[in-house]
């Protein structure tokens, strides 16, 4: 059983294939490669598991592989240089294709490398973590981090296609499975209340890696994200809703140092904080906030700031986030469960209360 979802972006439209054992179906991949040169980009965790298998799909191509160190802390301009080094060393030409085989970090870096190499070559996403499958591989945001801010250097650049092979989730560590579920819950919270209900019924199925439940959750997540991105590719409006929990979350990641908490974990805590602040603004009831935190806790996700970050540190870190505009702080909050809302400069004393400050 394979699902195909189209991301509608005019001439930059592309399909997402979702199903079991897509790495065993080379004919899909072949359709989206035009030249004869393919560079695989993966990381030290994923490459030993899937790279050889993936490469057997393309016997008649020049294939090289760049294996990056694993972790958000390596999502840097410097490590990106390794991809350019390989492309140049092996004389990759303008019509080559880069394929990202790994999680969100690999996908973001490969996409950005493809956007920049010779001012733009093709790329394909083969996300192998749940988080990458439901979030970072959809929508064309690519880039790297800077020591002073996450995803500060990058490009909007769309892949030719995305292959989500759900079999790759079998080897995913539990903690990363939960991190992916955080982004799945997000879609329910910002725009899809029936899906939120489904998640409340099926959380244990997801944690038990039931293939049918995973496929459904991935499809619904990608559909929600694709609809938003099709409406607002470059984040001038509604796309900002996808940042629910992210301004809080980025501050956590920057404050702790990249890679200490997983991105999805930081987003989970951020979503709980957004729900708390929404309640303080009178938009959510206490019961609704509890529904959010209960679901996140069942997914084994954090719902509070890490103890090592003070609320004051946190406020300072949030001020550097990209979502700040002309000195304004822009947050995504919840008008109701299933209804995200962009809020500029929420009342400072309420934000401080959410952070445990007076």
């Amino acid at each position: 059983m394979m699902q195909i979802l189209e991301v509608n972006l005019g001439e930059r439209s592309y399909p997402i294939y979702i199903g079991a054992d897509l790495l065993g179906q080379p004919e899909i991949l072949h359709r989206y490669i035009s030249g004869k040169q393919v560079l695989w980009v993966s990381n030290e965790t994923v490459a030993p598991l899937y790279l050889e298998r993936a490469q057997t799909m393309l016997p008649d191509f020049q294939q090289e592989a760049v294996v990056l160190p694993d972790g958000e802390q390596y999502k840097t301009l410097e490590v990106l240089g390794l991809v350019f080094d390989a492309l140049l060393k092996h004389r990759y030409e303008r019509n080559c294709t880069l394929i990202a085989l790994g999680g969100g970090v690999v996908g973001d870096m490969t996409g950005f490398a493809a956007a920049c190499y010779q001012r733009g070559v093709h790329f394909i996403q083969v996300p192998t973590t749940l988080l990458a499958q439901v979030d970072s591989s959809v929508g064309g945001k690519t880039g790297v981090n800077h020591p002073l801010g996450k995803n500060m250097i990058g490009a909007f650049y769309q892949p030719r296609c995305v292959l989500v092979d759900t079999n790759t989730l079998r080897t995913l560590p539990d903690r990363e499975l939960s991190a992916g579920i955080a982004e799945i819950v997000k879609y329910g919270l910002i725009r899809d209340i029936p899906f939120l209900g489904w998640l409340e019924k099926h959380m244990e199925d997801l944690l038990n890696r039931d293939p049918k439940s995973l496929t459904y959750a991935i499809l619904q997540s990608c559909r929600n994200k694709a609809e938003i991105v099709a409406e607002d590719e470059r984040e001038n409006g509604v796309r900002a809703l996808l940042n629910l929990g992210h301004t809080f979350g980025h501050a956590i990641e920057t404050g702790l140092g990249y890679g200490v908490w997983l991105h999805g974990e930081a987003v989970a805590a951020g979503m709980a904080m957004a729900a708390d602040l929404s309640a303080r603004l009178g938009w959510l009831s206490t019961d609704q906030v509890k529904r959010v935190t209960d679901l996140l806790l069942r997914a084994r996700l954090p719902v509070q700031l890490p103890a090592s970050l003070s609320g004051e540190d946190f406020l300072r870190l949030m001020a550097v986030d990209k979502k700040v505009r002309d000195g304004r702080l822009r947050l995504i909050l919840l008008e109701d469960l299933g209804v995200g809302r962009i809020v500029d400069n929420p009342e400072p004393e309420k934000l401080r209360a959410t952070l445990g400050l007076r």
Copy 2:
């Protein structure tokens, strides 16, 4: 007297202002800056001459400046990091504007930094070398070099406007003036025979920095380039003609090490080689080749390979150039004076003869 030329690229269209003392007319600049934060990017040669003056145009803005080391050898991903460092350190937001004040290297790097910072912010070009004024500030090619190839990492990204203040040419070293003239001659050779005739009449005026002649030559060059770029922004066809002399030239620059020869000098030698090869293919007469080399020599430009590069080295270097496609070597040659032509895989023995090989 100010000339305005529009580069027609749909929603990415922008104007080029050409005239004396545009740095004394802040109202032009103001029209194209929307936020309150401006980052100037310049280099160690140009900043002492013009940066302070330029900054007085924007008294009501947050202004910082990044002063890069001067030279093609610093057009690297690593040096680009200095621009990102400054942007993050001073908390530049998504609606900030980067302004390039300098030559082609500063323009290419600033444009690329603007393309990548927060996935794209505004930028403005204030080119201060003749080469940047007639070439690199028009058309949206931005990027940096890699040790294994020139301009291999970059983006197509258009400025909001270009300000060509011809007064800045007063301080330009003679050698750089000549390098700029190389690109001016190129437009005559590939598509504008009347302009080639004008250049043959006015070469000494240009070398003597006659303001009227310089303005005319810059305007005609930008017009030619803008017409080509409007037709083919992403170089799928006719834009390749602008690479006359460049495949040869890039090989010279890579072979000698960036910065030993100026870009325009390498292009001049490359154009002479392209003319020679065109003659060997029967397209130009010996007299026409002499017309080309005579004009370049009058502009005090080289018309031969540097002595330290062997023809064999040279062939190898050309194979890494971006214009290679599926293993084919793509060169721009001259079907006639004023008529450029894209040629894939010219007869190898004729190319070898042009390089002085058997």
